[in-house]
Amino acid sequence: MVYEGSAVSISGLVVRRGGMAALDNVTTSIPPGTVTGLIGPSGCGKTTLMRSIVGTQRIVGGTVTVFGKPAGHSSLRTRVAYTTQAPSAYRELTVREDLEYFRAIVRAPSTRVDEILDRLGLSSLAGKPCGNLSGGQLHRVSLAAALLGEPELLVLDEPTVGLDPVLRGQLWKMFHEMAGIGTTMVISSHVMDEAEHCGNLVLLRDGQLLAAGPPQDLKGKTGAETVEEAFLTLVGSSGESR
């Protein structure tokens, strides 16, 4: 189903964690069928924003709407998939058993596990216990579980951290292919280089929205050569206006 308008719209979102504002009045939207990068330094609220989009975050104010429904609505659970920053998998299970379980929960066809294993280069690891995998391998298993149900919105929290550059390149290629067939991808990173891969950006700092839009627009607006430079320029100007 192609959704007209924004895949995600966020309006006046406020989240408090431990007495501090983790997100402070964030308003933005995410166009469907794009790779949107959620970029900002560690601790800026990326994970909180992602959790708000998938509906696992308790919010204090504002609204988050996904495909026209309030975030976390039960009808969205088959349409939205999420991977946490720390890979989540059952360490005692083999890679195949882990994925078979999540496949059953999202009610995907039984051929789907092999398809995804192949796509993520995990076929040779299928019989290994998840607990014996390297960090990068476990990250891929966690990502694989999110892909099983062919979600329309995929929210990935730092999926490429700690991966070797070849694999990272392959994953970004896959993200763009998925966006090409209409999947909305929201991917967080604290590595500014990765922002250059994205069709759309949401820049966050200290729980506040710094800017949002396609990278070339942000660079054009700030006269910067790279997203990193644009980020720094934006931080400078927001600091002056405060």
Binding site: R16, T56, A86
Partner: protein, 243 residues
């Protein structure tokens, strides 16, 4: 009606346990081994008295431990958070756990009862199947208690500490080791509030009489009700939205 998600969860939990061979061996063998020394006791009447209640204690304790650790890992590893974003209800998850640990407890209780009845001259006036059934009911009580307390532990180390805190006092006051009429009155009343007492009382009733007893049905009912209550509380500790 048990959903596909609940069946899948049961299968997954059993796979998790099955990969840990030592745990499986401990669950199945330890109760049998612990029954044997009683046979060599100089007072066989002691084993005649405590043997059957012990058959009910083992499943309760081991399912409490295995469940609390499994659920704690689920909470800590992020898989619970992931499940909460998927098309699955908390009831599916709880039923899946109950199916998995209930079947594991059935195997455990059958084995220990078998060894008791066949080799150790354990005796029960009532039906032997009822002994196994009550042991499984006790196991489900242990499981629901484990699910609930897993919310209050941050590490496996902490989770294990709940056993001496919650189970040992219940066992001591249950009347198995020291008859309740020999206890201080306050302790005797305190035991009324402890669910393990009812499970073990039921075991004593099957041991002593073969006819239908309302008291036994009532004891089993209390254990069942407390189990369901604890499951409801456990469900409350699993939140789709967290701070």
């Amino acid at each position: 009606m048990i959903s596909k998600a609940a069946w899948a969860t049961a299968l997954r939990v059993l796979h998790q346990v099955q990969h840990d061979r030592r745990t499986v061996a401990l669950i199945l063998l330890v109760p049998m081994v612990l029954l044997i020394p009683w046979v060599f006791d100089d007072h066989p009447e002691v084993f005649d008295r405590v043997g059957l209640p012990l058959v009910g204690v083992f499943p309760l304790v081991s399912m409490f431990l295995v469940t609390s650790i499994t659920m704690l890992r689920e909470r800590v590893s992020g898989t619970l958070e992931r499940l909460m974003t998927l098309p699955m209800s908390k009831l599916d998850l709880l039923i899946g756990y109950a199916l998995a640990f209930g079947s594991l407890a059935t195997v455990q209780a059958t084995l220990v009862a078998l060894v008791g009845f066949v080799f150790l001259d354990l005796e029960a006036e009532g039906p032997k199947a009822l002994v196994v059934g009550l042991a499984v009911l006790n196991a489900l009580l242990g499981m629901s208690l484990g699910l609930f307390v897993s919310a209050f532990a941050r590490t496996e180390f902490e989770a294990v500490q709940f056993m001496p805190a919650l189970l040992i006092p219940q066992f001591l006051l249950s009347g198995v080791m020291i008859p309740r009429d020999q206890m201080a009155t306050a302790l005797e009343y305190a035991s009324l509030a402890l669910p393990m007492r009812y499970g073990l009382d039921a075991m004593e009733r099957v041991r002593d009489r073969s006819d239908f007893q309302w008291e036994l049905a009532l004891d089993a009912g209390v254990v069942g009700a407390v189990t369901l209550g604890l499951l409801a509380l456990a469900a409350l500790t699993m939140r789709r939205r967290t701070t």
